[in-house]
Symmetry: C2
Subunit: 453 residues, 2 copies
């Protein structure tokens, strides 16, 4: 059994490790265009902020260590140029030697990930315009900051990555302006919740410009100014673009592998594509939303990891199923933890649900215990059934237990619990950890009351 | 509508507040034997350790504030001596004036709580033998420490309260020996998990003696020595007894209110007792275990709070149901958070389940992010169905996210999830908060594998 894996980050390495474990005799080879494999993409902002001091720390395995530990072969700086579906071969290019060769596969996994979107604006080719997707991108930013000691940055895009980067740059004592084309930052939150983060950023001295797109970058060799649709001219020493990502599907498309309506590769729950013996997993595939049943493209490390594991199983003929996602995400933005799952109020309405909601502030633990703190939870509930459709939680990143509350709600939504049933949960109470009637329960009670109004 | 509530701590005040809110015209009166109402019993160890500096901080409402805020009358230092079921009256004694009077009720709530068990051992009447159940008990310990600056304590009982107290006394630079009659501390944990806590206590310099009961207290006026079954003579400046509690059911029993097989008051899910118009809630009642369906007596503040709320509703003719408990509990023992829910391995076997289990160590969040820490999770799973029956989680109290993991598992068990389904949860991942495949998921996978062995 010969397995070829295209892409060696989260999904690719998970799949290879799983497959090798299930069948130690299988010949498994990973091709990765980059020189790094198996790194934590989500950790890159912390490498830039210098919270993670060593570059190596965000690299889980080097190619050598992965081969030694997991038994799959790794060819870094090798690009798969073509998939020959009929002959079940791939054409692989050694990027260092600039040489191509053909290789047979029995099963193929496409785990080509996603890339930053760089819009073709005037001046976009200027120096010191960065994006952040892989370790090399981060290296460039880290090196630039170290060498040039810049004072002013413009971050384009007010999503998770943009805001995590904002935090990273603030940690390096750089003034940051964030420009977001949409009317609010964090567009996958309801605006009332996103406003909490906006206020926090302002307190941190960040200028946030919303509802304004970029028209041009100006400068000689280096970028010096960012021009916006509303006519703003933003001086800067450098720019980081984080307006979004797109799935890397060109190779799959060329091979006739079907894409879904989101534009990412379509797979079933076994991670099988439309072409037999070709599987796909990670940031290049779309998933099923567990609430709506609709295809969604929400590329995240945790999802990639799980999908890779499933593909590793099913390629080996072992049972495995990736059922879908709830769109859960969490992010640290300066001192805040910012989390969401399921549908926002706006998303739920757009999906045709009739919904009610509650927004509650609650203590993280007993008021008399040190580090008392409040978090805000918003609950979105179907009016008719009372079933919870979504939740957003924001609070202090260190103390407020935002991650706990969102994960309780993830588990509740996964099980189609009603808002009124949250109070029935026998959650753990002791003064250092919680309060007798946790905020998620109160949010449930309040949302349930809204249903009968 | 006239409602009499006997007992003014968690259940009594919750019920009174809820009932008044539902029916502002109702006449509601709380009688409390003690001078304090509405205090956090669970907070008492932190008052002793001086983490909570002001006594007032653990008192949520004084009688005056409760009356002003919630609109129910409060009579502290009033003891209900008798319930006259036929005439629907209570005989109340004003403990300060030593005067009794009769009072009519339409609905009565018994929320008499529980008391410390003090075994009738020789010398138990000596001075400086304390227990900890209410604020006055805590006052005595606090005053004793302040005045006498003691060096050595013996804590009798290695349950939550005993170990929380141990932490409190260590914080006051007092040497602590813990004596536990059972073969292990924390008898509601499996011994492999309790051993983690045992090791931690030893590291903190605590001598823990298990499998040894107390036979006698020796001393002139003050206790000076504790003698044990095995012949040990433990010198000490004072003793704290925390061998357990018993439900306060004498009043109920005298009135013909039925007790359950646990010895606590039997109630239905509406918190109704066997006598019409008499309700009971809090530490004096037994609950249904949500997994086994058996009656259990697990007196906890969070449960009392919820039961009180339900009683407040149902006394007012409003729908309300307390479905039962999973036996969830969490405790801080020095630097550790120690949590459990559902059944232990031993408990599950005793209930007749055929079970398998997994014990996993997992990172709290990404290894490269500050305050990386590991927690241990044990999962108990029914062999045949794969359904999770219980979980125990132990790890660093500040950083390991023990409370998060136990609450995810509480919610999973509540919804009868299988161990193999935990991996399907779309839990929130970002480096400061978690890892892509959380320890609870890995524990699920490993336990599931055990089923097929």
């Amino acid at each position: 059994m010969k397995i070829v894996v295209i892409g060696g980050v989260a999904a690719g390495t998970s799949a290879a490790a799983r497959a090798k474990r299930l069948n130690p005799d299988a010949e498994i080879i990973i091709f990765e265009r980059d020189s790094d494999i198996s790194y934590s993409g989500c950790g890159l902002p912390y490498y830039i902020s210098n919270i993670v001091e060593e570059r190596d720390d965000i690299i889980i395995y080097t190619p050598e260590r992965f081969e030694a530990k997991k038994g799959a072969k790794v060819k870094a700086q090798h690009s798969v140029e073509d998939i020959l579906v009929d002959s079940k071969e791939v054409i692989v290019k050694d990027l260092l030697k600039n040489k191509e060769k053909k290789l047979k596969y029995d099963k193929l996994l496409i785990a080509t990930g996603a890339s930053s979107i760089i819009p073709p604006l005037p001046g976009v080719e200027l120096d010191n315009i960065f994006s952040l997707r892989n370790v090399h991108d981060a290296d460039k930013i880290v090196d630039f900051i170290e060498v040039n000691n810049p004072k002013k940055a413009v971050v384009i895009g007010g999503g998770y990555i943009g805001l995590e980067l904002t935090e990273s740059l603030l940690e390096q004592n750089i003034d940051v302006r964030v420009v977001e084309k949409a009317e609010q930052i964090l567009t996958n939150f309801d605006s009332d919740m996103a406003d909490i983060v906006l206020e926090h950023l302002k307190e941190k001295g960040v200028e946030v410009i919303t509802g304004d797109g970029i028209t041009e970058f100006k400068g000689e060799e280096n970028v010096e100014q960012v021009l916006t649709e509303s006519g703003k001219e933003l001086d800067c020493d450098f720019v980081v673009m984080s307006i979004g990502v797109k799935p890397n599907v060109e190779l799959a498309q060329k091979a006739g592998v079907g894409l879904g309506e989101t534009g990412a590769i379509k797979v079933n729950s076994r991670m099988e594509t439309s072409v037999s013996d070709i599987y796909a997993a990670g940031d290049c595939v779309e998933s099923t939303h567990l609430l709506t049943g609709n295809p969604v493209w929400i590329p995240l490390g945790s999802t990639a990891n799980k999908q890779g594991r499933v593909a590793g199983s099913t390629m080996m003929g072992v049972e495995g199923e990736f059922k879908g996602v709830l769109g859960t995400a969490i992010s640290k933005v300066c001192d805040l933890a910012v989390a969401r799952t399921g549908l926002t109020f706006a998303e739920a309405e757009a999906e045709g649900y009739e919904v009610v909601s509650s927004v509650i502030k609650s203590g993280n633990h007993s008021g008399y215990y040190p580090n008392y703190n409040k978090f805000t939870v918003k609950l979105i509930v179907e009016k008719d059934s009372g079933i919870i459709l979504g939740a957003q939680v924001i609070g202090d990143a260190k103390f407020a237990g935002v991650d706990k509350r969102i994960d309780i709600l993830v588990t509740a939504i996964h099980n189609q619990m009603k808002a009124s049933e949250l109070i029935d949960l026998d959650l753990a109470y002791a003064p250092p950890f919680s309060i007798p009637k946790d905020g998620v329960m109160v949010a449930g009670i309040v949302a349930d009351k809204q249903r009968n109004k």
